[in-house]
């Protein structure tokens, strides 16, 4: 029985290894064919190239002494086609070269890009300039290969998966650290201790404080607490880190206490106190005249289920009385309500996970394979 069971129940362990290998070889061949044989190919990302040019100009003020007008000292960078240059209210500053730059805007689809390129090739100069973006295309390849690397864990743990996972975790951690440094430590700590330096080298728009001395003094408090917090890495004096931790926990508890009591205890208790029998709004005279027909049946059922559910679940968590007799039955009913709740939560979790898979497959099909 054991042998038969193994043969029928584990078809993919060893004897079907060749099937998996064949599937992979076929997939790679299909990808290569898709990349080389199709006109649109794979992972082709196009950008619209928009060129900008600005010239430096001075405003010209009419003057009785000079018929050509007098130039003001203030200059501005304007488009060479600016109407004010043509009508003489602005004049180019001599000896200053114009500045030029390009902006690359993503084109939504390969089809749209090919159409635009064809229009321009046919002589339609009103069509925007569209070109293949090597960097964006490489980005799609990198994202696709890393996605496949994560998926490869479904077959078995392997180095390809480990590299992809490490890259994801490493880049996420690095992003968080850099982001935290530039959005918190630089403006909130260095910006208070040395605002002029931060303004000169890091954040030109750092707001000017009305009390710079007081701000600098207060900034020493988190600075010292921060040093105390990382003291736990030192071989001795780990107790020093306990004090800033106590401060953090105390502050968080203080912040959460009031809001939790207001929003999660009082407001939730009020929301639970619903009328047992729900009456429909008397929108018509017929309904208003008949008390029986004014009862909203399903809303009433909902209220009753809510009341029974809350009481039975609370009974289940009430351990001061032994769960026997009526209390035991109520507690048992509470377990059923809990199970239905957990089942519902599990269903929602499944829905979320399927959506994530669908999103990644959409990316592979649309952006990488370009087949959808």
């Amino acid at each position: 029985m054991s042998t038969a069971n193994t043969q029928t129940s584990a078809p993919g362990r060893s004897d079907l290894r060749w099937l998996w290998i064949s599937l992979m070889v076929f997939s790679v061949a299909a990808l290569a064919a898709n990349a080389l044989l199709r006109k649109d190919g794979m992972a082709h990302r196009y950008v619209e190239v928009i060129e900008f040019e600005r010239v430096e100009a001075k405003a010209v003020v009419e003057s009785s002494a000079n018929a050509a007008g007098t130039e003001t000292a203030q200059t501005e960078w304007v488009d060479p086609t600016d109407a004010r240059l043509a009508n003489g209210t602005l004049r180019l500053v001599e000896g200053v070269a114009p500045i030029k730059w390009k902006l690359h805007k993503d084109v939504a689809s390969t089809t749209e890009a090919n159409e635009t390129i064809a229009r321009r090739a046919a002589g339609d100069m009103s069509a925007p300039v569209v070109e293949l973006s090597m960097w964006n295309s490489l980005g799609v390849w990198a994202a696709a290969l890393l996605t496949l690397g994560i998926f490869s864990f479904l077959y078995r743990d392997n180095p390809y998966y480990k590299v992809s996972e490490s890259l994801l975790i490493g880049s996420s951690a690095a992003y968080w650290m850099i982001n935290g440094f530039w959005t918190t430590i630089v403006p909130n700590l260095f910006g208070k201790l040395a605002p002029d330096v931060v303004r000169a080298y890091a954040i030109p728009s750092l707001p000017v404080s009305e009390h710079p001395g007081l701000d600098a003094g207060l900034a020493f408090v988190p600075l010292i607490l921060g040093f105390m917090l990382i003291w736990r890495l030192a071989p001795k004096g780990g107790w020093i880190a306990v004090w800033p931790l106590a401060f953090i926990i105390g502050t968080t508890a203080g912040l959460k206490l009031v809001s939790s009591i207001e929003s999660d205890l009082m407001a939730q208790a009020v929301a639970t106190m619903k009328p047992m029998v729900v009456f429909a709004a008397p929108s018509t005279s017929a309904v208003a005249s008949s008390a029986v027909s004014a009862v909203n049946f399903w809303a009433t059922v909902g209220s009753l289920v809510g009341v029974v559910g809350v009481l039975s679940v609370l009974t289940y968590f009430f351990f001061s009385v032994e769960h026997k007799g009526a209390v035991g039955k109520a507690a048992r009913l509470g377990v059923w309500f809990l199970m239905i709740t957990f089942g519902s939560a599990f269903g929602l979790t499944v829905m979320g996970r399927i959506t994530l898979l669908a999103q990644r497959l959409e990316f592979l099909f649309n952006s990488w394979l370009n087949i959808n």
Partner: protein, 307 residues
């Protein structure tokens, strides 16, 4: 002889069937992964779609945006990152499109570090694509990410200029008409949080709505994993709630029915597009659960089977 053989077969066949059913429970899990990939992938390739019937929570969200006066100042907090974009980006796109279609002035912010990038993408792909007339600083502004979790919300209830002296690019907010006179959160008629966890919609209810219950409407868009924590707040403390991709699809349906998009309509159909794979994948899941239970029952008492 024949009679004996048939009798033996009759005796053996229930055993073989039971063995086969019990064997299903030991099937290589990679077959299940492959069938799930097909269940999700094939409907995507076939562009399988089903009509959506909007539920009460999606309708309530739609009504919350509709009920505030046209041109109101609204705050949209992007409290998620790319890991949850599959569920929340469709909601974000539809919500921004809806607000812009009502000509609301939109203030974008983020409590998650990568939320700012999510908001930037939505501004570029949806807001400016469908409403190019929107002017920065007048009709919309990007406050960006601010560290501090619920502490940010707490401070915004009393002092927005103190918390946000500049926008995400460092420009002074005091010179931008959209927020120049916004002293605290009561300056907004509507707050929407697209939330993937902590901090998110729960904190907006606790610290913003809890502080000033009648000043503004709060609406949440949540991932499927997190929504169980938010359901108790609806409808008393949260006027609307979009539940996972289903909520996004229903809301998209409501928004595009009233405000149809002239072009690039596919950007407002992400939720509905992902509901086709949902149906097939759920059918597969149900089938697998049934098969798993059958295998367990069949394997009871067998060597290596369930007890």
């Amino acid at each position: 002889m024949t009679t004996t053989s048939q009798t033996n077969m009759n005796k053996q066949s229930p055993g073989r069937l039971r063995e086969f059913l019990a064997g299903i429970g030991n099937v290589d899990r990679r077959w299940i992964f492959l069938s799930m990939a097909l269940a999700v992938g094939v409907p995507i390739l076939l562009k399988l779609r089903f009509p959506e019937v909007p539920g009460p929570m999606a309708k309530a969200t739609f009504d919350a945006v509709e009920s505030i006066p046209e041109g109101s100042r609204v705050l949209l907090s992007f409290d998620y990152d790319p890991a949850s974009a599959g569920e929340l980006q469709p909601m974000a796109s539809a919500l921004v499109y809806h607000c812009a279609s009502r000509h609301h002035r939109i203030v974008f912010m983020a409590l998650w570090p990568l939320g700012k990038q999510m908001a930037d993408k939505t501004i570029k792909d949806v807001l400016l694509e469908f409403h190019p007339e929107y002017k920065y600083g007048v009709d919309y502004v990007q406050l960006g990410y601010k560290a501090g979790n619920e502490g940010v919300i707490k401070l915004m209830t009393t002092n927005i200029p103190g918390q946000y002296p500049t926008d995400a690019d460092g420009a002074a907010l005091s010179k931008m008409p959209i927020v120049a006179d916004a002293a605290d959160l009561r300056a907004f008629k509507f707050i929407g949080s697209l939330s993937a966890g902590y901090p998110g919609a729960k904190e907006w209810v606790q610290y913003a709505k809890g502080n000033t219950p009648d000043a503004f409407k709060v609406v949440g868009g949540s991932t499927g994993v997190q929504v169980s924590q938010l359901l108790p707040y609806y409808p008393k403390q949260m006027e609307g709630l979009l539940v996972a991709i289903k909520g996004a699809a229903e809301y998209e349906m409501l928004v595009t029915s009233k405000y149809p998009a002239a072009q690039h309509a596919d950007r407002l159909e992400e939720g509905r597009r992902r509901m086709g794979p949902q149906l097939v994948a759920h059918l597969l899941m149900i089938g697998l659960i049934v098969l798993g239970n059958v295998a367990m029952i069949a394997g009871r008492g067998m060597k290596g089977g369930a007890r």
